[in-house]
Amino acid sequence: MLKILKQSLSTGVVTNSFPATVSEPPDGFRGKPVIDFARCTACDKCAAVCPTDAISVQTSQHDPSIPANEKHLSISYGDCIFCGECAAACPDCITETKVFFLASANKESLTLRARYRSEPTGDRFLEMVNPPPVTSRETEVLGNELRKRIHKTFGRSLHIREVDAGSCNGCEIEITALNNAIYDIERFGIHFVASPRHADMLLVTGPVTRNMEIALKQTYEATPDPKLVVAVGACAIGGGIFGKSYASCGGVDTVVPVDVYIPGCPPRPEALLHGILLAIDRYPANRLSTEETSHKRGSKDTA
């Protein structure tokens, strides 16, 4: 008993001070890969090595709406597994940044797309194609009013039920880490609970396998309203490396509606915290602006 007491006292506080300060990932960390679209010539080098086809080049053959003399190059951070192969294949145009806060309520905003025109001298950058405005989603329609309500309902205390819908268990390792003393998610009043009936939020990982599809639907139905669903990791966002097959549905939103997407393979614990706090509108607004600058820093590096 005395030994235990001594150990507890001598350890002191080990919990980090997220979100007031966010520790910078070490050098060599592979965060958001940023494409310098203006420099890029849509040569397909990066798309050819991308294991999940997160980067792809589309022509009129793939999509009839693209004019014959044009090409589209797109990168989806939802599908990205942050392997670093694109930056290794094309160091001139692609830079690995340390940005890892990528969570978003809008799946379309995770994809960047640029238009290129084929010319005799090579393909030339025309412009960025903005993601189409989202109108169908309730969150978007009700906008701020709903966000306020979510904050009011879930802002102080949130109960999460984690559902593994066929992940490789990589995401589970990081989600489990949220309960350790370093990330200590309970300091935000957020608890993991044993039953969906006690939960406000489902944290879903994996591409949703055929054999988990019904279980996920039933878990969703067993969760009382109002509820939030967060898709964690590349598999949960769009099937990831497993895609869509006889055994995999290819993403959580093919089965239940999703409120927030957290990219990563797997997302770091701090990225998970960021995504969860974002979903309940508790992520400090002033921190958001710092991320903007770090994004800019990332893209400036490429110029």
Binding site: K3, I4, Q7, S8, T11, P25, P26, D27, G28, F29, R30, P51, T52, I81, F82, C83, G84, R161, E162, V163, D164, A165, G166, S167, C168, N169, G170, C171, E172, I173, I175, T176, A177, N179, N180, A181, I182, F192, A194, S195, G206, P207, T209, R210, N211, M212, A215, T219, G240, I241, F242, G243, K244, S245, Y246, A247, S248, C265, P266, R268
Partner: protein
């Protein structure tokens, strides 16, 4: 003449009439092709090979080779540990009959492999009619691993219910658990039958996380498949990717630079460390010892952060590559300093943690004699890895089939024979200490060499095993290339696939509240098992 040649000659003399013997591309593989007319003698031959060479069962690989030779082929892989040799018995199956004799009657360890073969290939060996790898809503006569089944086929659901083994009697009732569990763990269904508190039967239904990994890899380039291999089981990301790389390297005869071998060995041990520390914490948590658990989780977190400093990924992803490794881990002073400082800190704390645990009676009381698996049963079921070594089986691929830099290192393999939760806990504790020593031995080895060799084209229609002793146990991959050097067939064997059956035995006569800690002491992968 070395012992391997002697074995090859002994097999020629003893079985030459019934099979043709051919050396594989990799030096330590011996392919034995059984002649069709002797098919009915398969169990006897397996049993004899098993006994004569004191072999252990490694894996069973069904393969649809109709596009090559019009037949199905089944490969039975046996390991002769003291000679570093694999015997691969190949049996050709008539595609119209799709029936072969079962070897499960003589080698119990093959049971699940034969049942999976029936569900995925329609090749019947094991008489058990219950589906194993497919769920009841999967239609009969649809076999996803056949070459004429396209991987994005939408297969309709049919009506069907799970068929569990029921026990009846006064006061006997069933407890269904899962697939969505109370903790943050993977999905699977457990059906306990209890009489009062003690568990009298446990049925386990897996394959909830089946993602068709082996199927979607068909036709993929090996370089791309490395990233898929990293995602077979997240906790063994590096070990699985490396086992796959080994298979490709062995079938194409690629030499790996020494520096890459050193880095690979370091990474395997780092993976072992973070998982063992996490398991130690989780086992302590399951017996309610929060101080010890949080301490271990803190050490695990330190290891994950170290992984990120060294490789850019907390789970060591993006490191394995065919022919070497993608990135160095000792190229900067900061990395080297972080590695040795963190290991030193964690090591010191770990000694104190183990000291605290071993002097806490409430923990030991829960660990001792709980979830006991007798050595006799463990060896019958062909268990592997830490769980096997806790039940008296002295089996470790790092020593028996040396790979990476292990042949050059002094390695002690801890073995306990009690087979209880405490034994599995102690194996982890001793392996953690051993890992610290191994990483220490790798200090400053071959630092100025290449980390990856240049790869020519991968040769077509070749096959080889690739194996690694991961933290959980032996990971064995088998890969065969198609005409273009891409994947024709990739068989993944995770240690969990061997060990899940043993869990059913280990829990018998234990009380339900002890199930979590017993389960955690095995810590088997669902995703690795289901693929």
């Amino acid at each position: 003449m070395d012992n391997r040649e002697k074995i090859s000659i002994a097999i020629q003399e003893g079985y030459g009439q019934r099979m043709t013997v051919r050396e594989g591309t990799a030096r330590n593989e011996l392919y034995l092709f059984l002649k069709d007319e002797y098919l009915s003698g398969l169990p006897e031959i397996c049993s004899n090979l098993f006994k004569t060479f004191k072999a252990s069962f490694v894996t069973l690989i069904p393969n649809d080779e109709r596009t090559i030779n019009g037949r199905f082929c089944v490969y039975y892989v046996l390991s002769i540990p003291h000679e570093d040799l694999f015997l691969i018995l190949c049996v050709s199956v008539d595609p119209r009959q799709r029936e072969i004799p079962s070897i499960s009657t003589v080698i119990d360890a093959a049971t699940w492999f034969e049942r999976e073969m029936k569900d995925w290939y329609g090749v019947v060996a094991f008489p058990n009619v219950r589906n194993h790898a497919t769920h009841p809503d999967w239609p009969e006569d649809v076999y996803p691993m056949l070459k004429d089944f396209h991987r994005v086929t939408q297969v309709p659901r049919v009506k069907g219910v799970f068929d569990f083994r029921h026990v009846e009697g006064e006061g006997v009732f069933e407890i269904p658990v899962g697939p969505v569990h109370a903790g943050t763990i993977e999905p699977g269904h457990f059906r306990f039958t209890v009489a009062g508190e003690p568990i009298i039967n446990l049925d386990i239904k897996l394959f909830y996380t089946h993602k068709g990994t082996e199927k979607i890899a068909e036709g993929m380039t090996p370089h791309r498949a490395v990233f898929l291999a990293e995602r077979i089981s997240g906790d063994s990301s590096f070990a699985h990717a490396l086992a796959f790389c080994h298979a490709v390297e062995r079938l194409s005869g690629i030499e790996v630079p020494k520096r890459a071998l050193v880095i690979r060995t370091n990474l395997l041990e780092l993976e072992r460390l973070h998982n063992h520390l996490g398991d130690i914490g989780a086992m302590l948590l399951d017996v309610g010892f929060a101080v010890g658990a949080q301490w271990a989780f803190r050490l695990k977190e330190q290891m994950l952060q170290l992984n990120e400093v060294l490789t850019g990924s907390r789970l060591l992803r993006g490191m394995a590559a065919i022919g070497g490794v993608r990135r160095p881990i000792e190229d900067t002073a900061h990395k080297r300093e972080s590695l040795y400082r963190t290991l030193d800190e964690v090591n010191k704390e770990f000694v104190k943690l183990v000291d605290l645990v071993m002097s806490t009676a409430s923990v030991l009381d829960r660990f001792e004699t709980t979830g006991r698996l007798k050595p006799k049963n463990a060896s019958r079921m062909g268990m592997v890895g830490i769980a096997a070594r806790a039940s008296g089986i002295n089996r470790d691929l790092r020593r028996d089939h040396p790979h990476c830099a292990y042949p050059y290192l002094t390695l002690k393999v801890p073995v306990h024979s009690e087979g209880d939760v405490l034994a599995r806990f102690n194996i982890r504790v001793e392996e953690v200490r051993e890992s610290f020593k191994l990483i220490d031995q790798l200090h400053h080895q071959h630092v100025n060499e290449e980390i990856i060799s240049t790869i020519e084209a991968i040769p077509p229609l070749r096959q080889a095993l690739g194996y690694v002793e991961g933290w959980r146990g032996e990971i064995v991959h088998w890969m065969m290339t198609d005409n273009g050097g891409n994947i024709y067939r990739w068989k993944i064997t995770d240690p969990s696939f061997h060990n899940w059956r043993a869990l059913k035995l280990a829990v018998l006569n234990n009380i339900v509240p002890d199930f979590p800690v017993i389960n955690k002491s095995f810590n088997l992968s669902y995703s690795g098992n289901d693929r």
